[in-house]
């Protein structure tokens, strides 16, 4: 998965990439060492502080979502039954991220299917 996201993560101003599955579990996360300094565990934060089901209900209404804040943007794209989140500073060109995610989508779908299979066999 790291290889897949190397290019996005290396874009100046990208804070991190996260994949959250339909059970609200973080399947993958990678943060930029330069711009991200939060030492808290995102997985725990998601479980304890965020009601992701509420967000999911809205994310399901569309193909992609953009949450806009004072100091950053969160781009959310539904891929299969998972959600790809890209956190970025405001100056990152949105079109570049959208394009990168679209290019990644087929490979990411394959990877996510593999993760599912692996989880099935590991049970």
């Amino acid at each position: 998965m790291d290889k897949l996201f190397n290019e996005i993560i290396s874009i100046d101003g990208i804070i991190g990439v996260i994949i959250i599955n339909n059970s609200n579990i973080v399947d993958y996360k990678k943060f930029s060492d330069i711009s991200f300094k939060n030492t808290n565990d995102f997985d725990k934060y998601l479980q304890n502080s965020v009601n992701f089901d509420i967000l999911k209900k809205v994310f399901e209404l569309s193909n992609e979502n953009l949450l806009i804040y004072d100091d950053l943007r969160l781009y959310v794209k539904k891929i299969l039954n998972s959600y790809l989140l890209v956190a970025m500073k405001l100056y990152v060109p949105m079109s570049l991220i959208r394009l990168n995610c679209q290019i990644l989508e087929p490979q990411l779908e394959k990877k996510l299917l593999n993760v599912k299979k692996f989880k099935f066999f590991s049970k």
Partner: protein, 346 residues
């Protein structure tokens, strides 16, 4: 031009007195007072100030910590310390931390005014340029390897920005609490600006490592991508006020009349044809609050809104109005959602 001065002291009678004294200079200075260091930082994060005057002994956040925080986050704003506890060591520590001047109580007001006037003069010692083009100007600074602090006011939006140059290189930039490259991009994307030059740069650590030309190109790209935000700014928002209410944070007011705002949204110059409908909806509250919580993890700042893109002609923009209501704006693919969200929030 009216200069905002922030005075921080937990002694309310002293604040009242100094405000009264400054009333004589109301044509030059607008005085804002607060009784705590924490509130002072909040005020500095949302308003433009030329000078800060602070006491040293205050509860919660003392003057030393406040001075340190200002030097770190708002380095171009000079701080004058006023204290009743005059000790040679205090004077030394305060000056070492970066205070511009040190006054003891009881205050000789004439000396303080002279000090403030000197500081204001310093801001423009290298000259003033009105209605200038920022790109041209900073390229000249680069060519001449200038060391200076440039204060810039966007003529349209009245936003203030600061650029720090050392030997012709852009070391840092600041707009309110935003610093570094992000601030630089925003400043460099402004169209017509007023510039004042201080022949000195207080910053000696380079926070912006990119080449100036590359930053300029990116700023132009950003300008195109966001659409000219300033264009909407005039129509939509209350301009950053030059006279600030004391103590409380100055918030940009939204009109009380929702219907008129809806009209305003529809009338955003370029977006008029892209907006299909606007309604006020209470159903987005829980989504907005969870979006806010999610953003906290990334130190996102205030949540401004969301764009739900279906790749169709009926995409949604959700903008929280307050804890209770949101604007639900249906737009087509042609619209620039960030521009609409930013305009309304501004």
């Amino acid at each position: 031009m009216l200069h905002n001065i922030l005075i921080v002291d937990d002694n309310q009678p002293f604040l009242n007195l100094i405000k009264k004294i400054f009333e004589k200079f109301s044509n030059k200075y607008n005085v804002v007072t607060t009784n705590s260091g924490i509130k002072a930082i909040e005020l500095l994060s949302f308003n433009y100030f030329s000078i800060v005057l602070t006491d040293l002994q205050m509860p919660n956040m003392d003057g030393f910590t406040l001075l340190e925080k200002i030097k770190k986050n708002f380095p171009d704003i000079p701080v004058i310390v006023i204290t009743a506890f005059d000790k040679p060591k205090t004077n030394l520590v305060v000056k070492k931390t970066g205070a511009y001047a040190y006054f003891t109580k009881p205050l000789v007001i004439d000396d303080l005014i002279i000090c403030i006037e000197n500081l204001i003069k310093k801001e423009t010692e290298g000259g003033i340029l009105n209605n200038a083009s920022i790109e041209m100007f900073i390229q000249l600074l680069e060519m001449e390897s200038k060391t200076c602090t440039i204060r810039i006011i966007n003529e349209k939006s009245k936003e203030h920005g600061v650029l720090f140059f050392r030997d012709g290189e852009l070391y840092n930039a600041r707009i309110l609490k935003t610093v570094g490259k992000e601030a630089a991009y925003r400043i460099l994307s402004w169209d017509k600006v007023n510039i004042s030059i201080e022949n000195n740069c207080i910053i000696d650590t380079k926070e912006i490592n990119e080449d100036l030309q590359a930053i300029l190109l990116d700023a132009l790209r950003l300008k195109d991508e966001l659409g000219s935000l300033e264009k909407d700014f005039n129509e939509f928002s209350v301009k950053p006020n030059e006279s600030i209410e004391p103590i409380t944070k100055v918030e940009v007011k939204k009109t009380d009349n929702d219907a008129s705002l809806i009209d305003s949204i529809k009338n955003i110059s370029d977006a008029e044809n892209s907006i299909k409908s606007v309604k006020i909806n209470k159903e987005w509250n829980s989504f907005n609050s969870q979006a806010t919580v999610l953003g906290f993890y990334f130190n996102s700042g205030v949540y401004k809104g969301s764009y739900l893109n279906n790749y169709s002609s009926d995409n949604l923009i959700i903008i929280p109005i307050d804890d209770d209501k949101s604007y639900e704006i249906v737009v087509d693919l042609k619209c620039s959602p960030e521009r609409i969200i930013n305009s309304i929030n501004n």
